[in-house]
Structure formats: C-alpha cells, structure tokens
C-alpha cells in the first residue's frame, strides 16, 4: 500500500478509525508546498491542490470525443476492469489530493476505499499517471479479492509486488533515473526492493519480516498480471492489454 518513495501509509484498522483518518497521519504536512520547484508554468498560478486535481483529471480522461489517445492506457484498463468487477471508480468519491509527509507519493486507504494523492510530492503528469496506476492496482486487488490489508503482511506484500511489477515503477528507465543500474533480471530485484520499502513504510515490522513475506509470495504474485494479462513495459503494451480486455468475451467463447 504505501512505499517510502511512492506511497503513503494506509488507513488504520477499523477499530482505530476514531483517531485520525488519513493514514498513519504521521502524514501531517511537514513542509508547505510553496517552495517546490519543477511545475513550470503551472507553479505560478495554481495551488498544489489545484495542480493535483488538474493532473488527475487528465490521467482519468477517458472521453471518446478526445480521441483514443487521450488519457493513460494503464489507467483506462484498470478503470474498465474495476467497473467490470463492480467497483466503478468515481473521481470525487475515490480520489483525494492532500499534503503528505516525507516523499511519499500516494496511498490506498482500504478502510475508506479511497486513493490518496500527495499533492506536495507528485512532480508532473507522467508521475501522476504512474502513482494513479500503482494505487488503482491496490484498489483493484481490494475489489476482486479478500485482501487482509491490516492483518496479513503476506497479502500486503502480494499487492505491493503486483503494483511495483505492473505500474511501471520498475521500468528500466525509472531505475536508471534512480541510479540503480542492472540489466539481466534487474526488474525482479527492483520489484522485490520496492515492495519491501512500501511494506516498511506502513508496518512497524523489521526488514527481515518484510523480506520474508515478499519472498514467500513472490512467485505467485509476480506472475499474477491481472488485469493486464502481461507486464506492461510501456504504453504500447498497456494498449494491447486494454484491447485484449475489451476482446475477452470473444476470446473465452472461442477457446
């Protein structure tokens, strides 16, 4: 659910909901947004919240009138798959732009069925697309399976492995930007490492326990590519995956 670099801690278990909401609100804002560079044109005229909302709108764009190229194909597929599973996503209900602690980018709060986006940490549109993809994978898992987010670290580990694997978090390019160089099978190393980081950000457990959980579930969860049917290395793969998802009735009735 939450990762050191990319997510924020999830909501507290139901019985602790009396306290705060959002997320291990260790997530009170520690620094104000004004000083943040890098948004170019938008910085001068919009607050972080407005920027977050605008970028989110663009990510979720599925309008046919804008042409098939509009929006993000990873997100389009996830939204379709969730709708198909009975969890249609409503922007106002299921997304929230907020200030977050540290350099976490987002999180999925299973107790409120809400994706939180860290408006002070999401750098640009591409980053927004990836964070939304990552969190929607958690939401998708929550929708289609009984995931014991708060009581079974293996379930949490599984969803984190899937999210790191399928969202583009561990693409070769992203790893190079992080100065993690490696080629042969490096993707799997990245997925393990990021899953462990994410678990440690939201659970008060040792690295060894987190690592053990990831090791136990890795084989199964790394190979679970739902709803993509493959690891989408870039938008082309994601578009093909979306095409296959839309074709699934024909597919299953003819094999």
């Amino acid at each position: 659910m939450a990762g050191a670099a990319d997510e924020r801690p999830p909501g507290p278990p139901a019985e602790e909901q009396l306290q705060q909401q959002h997320v291990a609100c260790q997530v009170l804002p520690e620094r104000l947004a004004e000083g943040k560079p890098g948004q170019g044109f938008l910085s001068s005229f919009f607050t972080n919240n407005q920027k977050c909302q605008l970028m989110l709108l663009k990510t979720l764009e599925t309008s046919r009138s804008r042409g098939p190229g509009a929006g993000d194909p990873y997100v389009k597929l996830l939204l379709d798959a969730m709708k198909h599973s009975g969890c249609a996503v409503n922007r106002e209900r299921h997304f929230s732009c907020e200030d977050c602690n540290g350099n976490v980018s987002g999180g999925f709060d299973a107790s409120t069925s809400q994706i939180v986006l860290c408006q002070n940490n999401i750098r640009n549109q591409a980053h927004m697309n990836r964070v939304v993809t990552h969190e929607l994978i958690h939401a998708f898992d929550h929708c289609r399976a009984h995931v014991n987010w708060f009581t079974d670290v293996r379930h949490l580990a599984c969803s984190e492995v899937r999210a790191a694997n399928l969202s583009g978090d561990c693409s070769l390019i992203n790893e190079i930007f992080r100065l993690h160089f490696g080629l042969k099978q490096h993707h799997q190393t990245c997925v393990r490492d990021r899953a462990i980081l994410s678990i440690l950000a939201v659970r008060n457990i040792s690295k060894e326990v987190a690592q053990k959980a990831v090791d136990e579930v890795f084989e199964s969860c790394f190979n679970d590519h739902e709803p993509f049917g493959r690891i989408p290395h870039n938008k082309t793969y994601a578009r093909y995956a979306h095409r296959d998802f839309q074709n699934r009735d024909r597919y299953y009735s003819n094999i």
């Binding site: 379930h155 084989e219 590519h225």
Partner: protein
C-alpha cells in the same frame, strides 16, 4: 468451444500479427531480458498467425484445433500459481458508500 457454426479465431488475425511483430522487436527483447534474463520466444505467435490465416482462407479444422490448443495453453500458464488470497464473489460492500461523516465535516 463451439465447432463449425459459431467458431472464429479467439483473436483477429491482425492481433496475432501485431503480437508477433512486438515480440520480435528489439525493444521487446530488451524488456524481456530485463525481466526474465533470457530471450523471448516468439515462434508460437508466428504459428498462431499462420493458423489464423489458414482458417480465414480455408476454414481448416486443423488450424482451428491448433489455435485453440495454443490459447488454452496460454490461459493455463497464467493460472498455474496458487493465489495468495481468496477471490471475492461480489465487490466490497462499502466501495460505493459515502465517506465517513468526520471526513465530510472536514
């Protein structure tokens, strides 16, 4: 799988071609090596494309059989790992419920 009357290839032939082309591309080689540490295997897509075209042209029963077998093997490959969690029969009851009141008051 319906024979005769209603059957058609699980994917349009253009899709088999697109998958084969993607599989054989240099970029895919790089992605596949990065993930699996070995080169990709693309021969099956080529065979499926050939079967698809053969069925389109001559309604070959052998082509139909070959395609079905190939796609079933693909589906089986995705299902060979036991899931960590139990799948739901219906979505979470609170997915569409409004946010808790305290949230709204803020």
């Amino acid at each position: 799988m319906a024979d005769g009357g209603g059957w058609r290839p699980p994917r349009p032939c253009e899709v088999y071609r697109a998958e084969w082309k993607l599989c054989r591309s240099a970029r895919h080689f790089l992605h596949h090596y990065y993930v699996h540490g070995e080169r990709p295997a693309c021969e099956q897509w080529r065979r499926d494309l050939a079967s698809c075209r053969e069925w389109e042209e001559r309604r070959s029963a052998e082509a139909q059989r070959s395609l079905c077998e190939s796609e079933r093997a693909r589906v089986q490959a995705t299902r060979k790992h036991t899931l960590v969690w139990a799948l739901r029969q219906s979505p979470p009851a609170d997915w569409h419920l409004p946010l808790p009141q305290e949230e709204k008051d803020q």
